[in-house]
């Protein structure tokens, strides 16, 4: 259970560039929920994920994860129970280290500062079995440096790393936005598979309305730092893109303007 309790985030406070990125956002996410988040540029989607992950402190409100107040917990401490995949495929892995070493760091999380051997026979076997579930052939390339992988392979690997130790919450920040449509589809499928199999509470930000509607069991639309739409259950499963845009126009009295949104 994730609770965002009236969280506020203001960038460049007291300057001409002051920007209220999150304006009194409250949200309750049940365990096992898969929430997709859409919204135009500057709506506050990524800010919300970064606030939950602890990238920066928030200016008001509380963040509660499984009855624990994590509002003032450091980013690296939250990593013990929050898994993340970023938009940039370069960010989620250590490029000049091998696949197996990257996996080892994910497997050891959060106890990474110990003097235990990072790799041994049983771990290598475990990682190999783990990668066999992904149709990318990575299980044969355990000792390949990650910088030699494609963007899609890296995102798939980052996803595996983020979920290897089952997190209490998985944050996906447009994790397929930088990939070609075919690879994006593959990574999305993998995402659904892993999330469902392990029943992981997930928040996924996306610019792709189709993905947002098809994936997950709850859809949130953000606008100017606020949550303006929250669709669950049957309404979510029967939602279509035209109806979604229609609903937004009714709610806001303006057109959903977003050149990066892909309609199909």
């Amino acid at each position: 259970m994730v609770i965002l309790d009236h969280i506020q985030k203001i960038f460049h406070r007291n300057t001409p560039n002051e920007n209220q990125a999150l304006d009194d956002v409250s949200l309750k996410i049940k365990e096992g929920d898969f929430v997709t988040v859409i919204g135009s540029n500057g709506a506050g989607k990524s800010t919300m994920l970064n606030a939950i992950a602890g990238v920066y402190p928030i200016d008001g409100g509380k963040i509660i994860l499984d009855d624990v107040d994590i509002t003032s917990l450091a980013e690296c401490k939250r990593a013990a129970f929050i898994g993340r995949v970023f938009q940039d495929p370069m960010l989620g892995t250590s490029p000049s280290m091998t696949i197996e070493k990257n996996l080892s760091m994910a497997y050891a999380r959060p106890k990474n500062m110990t003097l235990r051997w990072g790799l041994d026979f049983s771990r290598r076997k475990l990682f190999k079995d783990y990668l066999k579930n992904i149709p990318l052939g990575l299980e044969k390339r355990l000792s390949t440096k990650v910088k030699l992988l494609s963007g899609g392979q890296r995102q798939a690997l980052t996803l595996v790393m983020a979920t290897m130790k089952k997190p209490k919450l998985l944050l996906l920040d447009e994790h397929t936005a930088a990939l070609d449509p075919k690879t994006a589809l593959l990574v999305n499928r993998l995402t659904e598979e892993i999330v469902h199999k392990n029943n992981i509470t997930t928040i996924m930000v996306t610019h792709n309305l189709e993905h947002a509607i098809k994936m997950g069991n709850r859809l949130i639309m953000m606008h100017k730092g606020q949550i303006v739409m929250d669709i669950k259950g049957e309404e979510k499963s029967t939602m279509t893109i035209p109806r979604l845009l229609n609903k937004f126009e009714q709610l806001q009295g303006e057109k959903f303007a977003e050149d990066r949104v892909m309609l199909a």
Binding site: K77, P95, P110, G118
Partner: protein
């Protein structure tokens, strides 16, 4: 003469190689330009020499030197991560303050170790008791080979642990390792502590090897360390940690050997050495660039190399 030169360079290359292994941790693993070493190297020498002169066991003195070095690294690490001072400046600040501290420790600019016991003389005596035919002439070479390799293997092993992985990832992609639950500040501090510990250890061994500790002996340590790391890197490449650290020791030897050659053929005088060192580092750093531009004759808008 060349043979004598070779063995002398091998001795020096190995004992200074321990310092270069320390530089390898900060420069290569953490990508942290740590200038503390110019202060922690003479710190190790000063601590060891002062303790030996005041009658302590050379082994205890050497261990104390190592500990003092780790403390210097800790200061730089805290200045950088907790006080938010840049890596270069925090190293410079520690190095500068160490100059005064080293003078305080020794009480004068120079501490000779004439007729004092050293780790080498003690090991030599011990070995001769056990085995009368022990080749005392080669005590330094034997000791340095064994000890430098021991440090190398220790470092290799450390970099294969979970903590070693975390340090490597901290230099490679700090965002990633933070999202795996590692406090990158702590990882940097651990790296700096180990690095400067090794540098001070090397300083202590060098002081006992050359028979004195001098407050000015640290000048240019970082450049010599970098030269060793870069020479090793360009000759052996970055295939694995095992090869890289071996390359550092080999680079250190080549560096000392080329200096000895230049001096013995009177191509330069001793006072030109620092200039010579800097030029070696510049050549080693720019060599990959030249190699690239030879391979790729098409001139574009970007310069190649230095990825």
């Amino acid at each position: 003469m060349l043979q004598n030169l070779f063995f002398k360079s091998l001795e020096q290359g190995l004992v200074f190689g321990i310092m270069a292994l320390g530089v390898y941790i900060t420069f290569k693993i953490l990508k942290f330009s740590d200038l503390t070493v110019d202060g922690s190297f003479p710190l190790g020498a000063a601590v060891a020499a002062s303790l030996i002169v005041s009658g302590h066991s050379p082994f205890f003195a050497t261990a104390a030197a190592l500990l003092a070095g780790t403390f210097a690294g800790l200061i730089t690490g805290v200045l950088n991560t907790k006080a938010g001072i840049s890596d270069l400046l925090s190293g410079i600040l520690t190095m500068t303050s160490l100059y005064s501290i080293n003078l305080r420790i020794m009480g004068r600019p120079n501490t000779p170790l004439l007729n004092q016991p050293t780790v080498y003389s003690l090991i030599d005596d011990f070995s001769k008791n056990v085995w009368p035919l022990f080749p005392s002439k080669h005590i330094y070479l034997l000791f340095f080979i064994i000890f430098a390799l021991f440090v190398k293997i220790f470092l290799d092993a450390f970099l294969k642990t979970q903590m070693g992985f975390a340090l490597r990832a901290t230099g490679d992609n700090p965002q990633m390792i933070r999202s795996q639950g590692v406090n990158t500040d702590l990882a940097k501090i651990v790296g700096l502590v180990i690095s400067n510990g090794l540098v001070a250890l090397s300083g202590a061994l060098v002081a006992q090897y050359q028979g004195f500790a001098d407050v000015g002996m640290g000048v240019g340590t970082i450049v010599a360390g970098l030269a060793s790391v870069i020479i090793g890197d360009s000759l052996l490449g970055e295939r694995s940690v095992f090869v890289s650290t071996l390359g550092v020791l080999f680079g250190s030897f080549l560096y000392r050997f080329s200096i000895s050659l230049v001096l013995s053929f009177r191509l330069a005088q001793a006072s030109d050495l620092k200039l010579f060192t800097a030029i070696v580092v510049i050549i080693a750093l720019t060599a990959p660039r030249f190699k690239q531009s030879l391979k790729l004759p098409a001139k574009g808008c970007e310069s190649y190399g230095n990825s």
